[in-house]
């Protein structure tokens, strides 16, 4: 499934919620389902330190496709990270680089990507893009 299609699937999934609490309860579930990183994986190199919440991310390239692992001390941050991973997992560096991640806005979570939000999510996207650029250049 292309990134675009995966984004649309997420948007559709979220369209059933007309209550903010339900939407966040779902994000909490997603956060809980995301496999936590082991303590050894939570290195300073993998850390994106927002001033509100911490976010760790591991980016790898396997057989030309990008793979991600992420964790956060805040469950909502983790839930949103899980959505980002779902949209980008298994895609080529070029597709990741070109992807416009409009779904966050469309499901009403854009406030979490505000530069002053300090939860590390914006930095996470930047880091993913930087990796994609580097992988793409090597390819």
């Amino acid at each position: 499934m292309s990134i675009e299609k995966k984004q649309n699937a997420i948007i559709e999934e979220f369209s059933i919620f007309d209550d903010w609490m339900d939407k966040y309860a779902y994000l909490v579930d997603l956060g809980n389902e995301l496999t936590p990183l082991s303590p050894e994986e939570k290195t300073d190199d993998n850390l994106i330190d927002g001033c509100q919440s911490k976010l760790w991310i591991i980016v790898e390239l396997k057989d030309g496709k990008m793979r991600f692992k992420a964790d956060s001390d805040a469950i909502i941050t983790k839930g949103i990270a899980s959505l980002l991973i779902r949209a980008l997992e298994g895609e080529t560096p070029k597709d990741v680089l070109d992807a416009e991640l409009s779904f966050i806005d469309k499901i009403g979570l854009h406030q979490h990507l505000s530069p002053t939000r300090s939860n590390g999510l914006l930095a996470m996207i930047k880091r993913i893009k930087a990796y994609a650029m580097a992988f793409n250049a090597k390819a």
Binding site: M21, Y24, V28, Q52, S53, A74, I76, T77, H112
Partner: protein
């Protein structure tokens, strides 16, 4: 004090957020503004706007006198001996920077000590740290006790022959502790050390009398006392201010300039380079007048009861731990909840129309003291109600179920 009438004075409180009535509990960050403040500033722009101090025309004279009346009004409010001991700044942060720079330039030498406490806001920590680095002086940090109070004995023994200035917060923006500043100042003065009081979190909740405290400097921000942003006050004793070199150079702060020689203006203008924020100064006066018209003692009593109620109700929540349990506190309720990240709680409370703050509150050393990454902070002001506290508690319980 009629709370429903007071709430009507604050237009912003009437709105709904995500379809829920706004419950604003982020007052330690900034307070909302009564109509009288907004109107005072509008009126100035509508009728009187003109740059102050230099004009000979009608508007300039009127706005100059409004600005200087505001200064006089504020001097009376904090019981300053002289009106020229009131310096307008952009806020508390600029006031601390001004003193750290100007007092520091004159009085701090290599090896000297500057004393602050572990509970300071970054604004009352970083400027002193920068001064210490600039002068190869030492910044001494007095730790606080487990309950978030300061020990007077430890304070006394932290003062040495090398201590040249002490800066302490009156009320902690994280712990809510009311520090015994009057007693601390007395102790400091026994050792001839001047004291700067950060009143950013006290001026709106307590009676502040600079002559009674005998503080050497005191600062607060307009926007935390129902006034506009961009204006703050530095009070300083005349003698100290007179001896200090200027902070910034520019218009207003000079009395004459030739190519070889600059003569600085007198107090307070020596420290007010550039066009002052006279509109905000007048807004600040209106804010203080608003408080005084209600009666500061009534405000204090109302907030005291509300704070006690909020503390009691919050502590009923299972797994909630209050951060800062000193005997004397005001306004600020910082807490953590078992297994719940403050960011998650703050984010979800927002969706219920409740504005609180989560995070480190610009006081990371306080977080380090308790080994926590942040707190949830609710802070009350004169327009908050017990019903709002009940809603907060109800939603904390509800969200706790979702998050854990």
């Amino acid at each position: 004090m009629n709370i429903q009438n007071i709430r009507k004075d604050f237009p912003i409180l009437k709105q709904e957020i995500y379809g829920k009535p706004l419950i604003y509990l982020d007052n330690a960050a900034t307070t909302q503004k009564p109509v009288s403040v907004i109107e005072a500033m509008n009126d100035l722009y509508f009728r009187l706007n003109s740059n102050i101090h230099r004009g000979v025309h009608y508007l300039s004279e009127e706005s100059t006198s409004a600005h200087e009346n505001a200064r006089k009004y504020i001097a009376d409010f904090i019981h300053a001996k002289h009106t020229h001991e009131i310096i307008f700044t952009r806020g508390t942060t600029e006031a601390v920077n001004l003193v750290a720079f100007s007092f520091g330039e004159k009085n701090i030498q290599q090896g000297d000590e500057i004393l602050v406490t572990e509970m300071e806001h970054h604004s009352n920590f970083v400027p002193w740290k920068m001064l210490a680095e600039r002068k190869s002086a030492k910044l001494i940090v007095l730790p606080f006790e487990e309950d978030g109070s300061l020990s007077l004995e430890k304070f006394q023994s932290a003062i040495t022959e090398k201590t040249k200035i002490i800066s302490i917060t009156h009320v902690s923006n994280v712990l809510g502790t009311i520090n015994p500043v009057k007693e601390m100042i007395r102790i400091a003065h026994e050792a001839d050390v001047p004291v700067f009081v950060d009143a950013a979190q006290s001026i709106q909740h307590l009676s502040v009398d600079v002559q009674d405290l005998d503080c050497d400097f005191l600062a607060f921000s307009g926007h935390k006392i129902y006034g506009p942003t961009g204006i703050g006050v530095l009070y300083g004793k005349e003698k100290l201010l007179d001896e200090m070199p200027p902070y910034q150079g520019g218009g207003e702060m000079i009395s004459s300039v030739s190519l070889d020689k600059i003569t600085y203006n007198e107090l307070p203008f020596k420290f007010e380079a550039g066009t002052p924020n006279y509109v905000a100064a007048i807004g600040l006066q209106a804010a203080i007048k608003y408080l005084e018209d209600i009666g500061m003692q009534d405000v204090i009593k109302y907030e005291h009861d509300l704070f006690a109620y909020a503390t009691e109700q919050l502590l009923q929540i299972e797994g909630l731990k209050m951060i800062g349990t000193a005997k004397k506190k005001t306004s600020v309720l910082s807490f953590v909840m078992d297994g719940i990240h403050p960011y998650d709680m703050g984010t979800m409370l927002d969706k219920t129309g409740i504005a609180v703050r989560s995070g480190t509150h610009c006081a990371e050393p306080v977080m380090q003291h308790y080994g926590i990454s942040g707190t949830i902070r609710a802070s009350v002001a004169l327009y908050n109600t017990k019903a709002e506290i009940d809603k907060l508690v109800e939603n904390l319980n509800k969200i706790q179920m979702i998050l854990s």
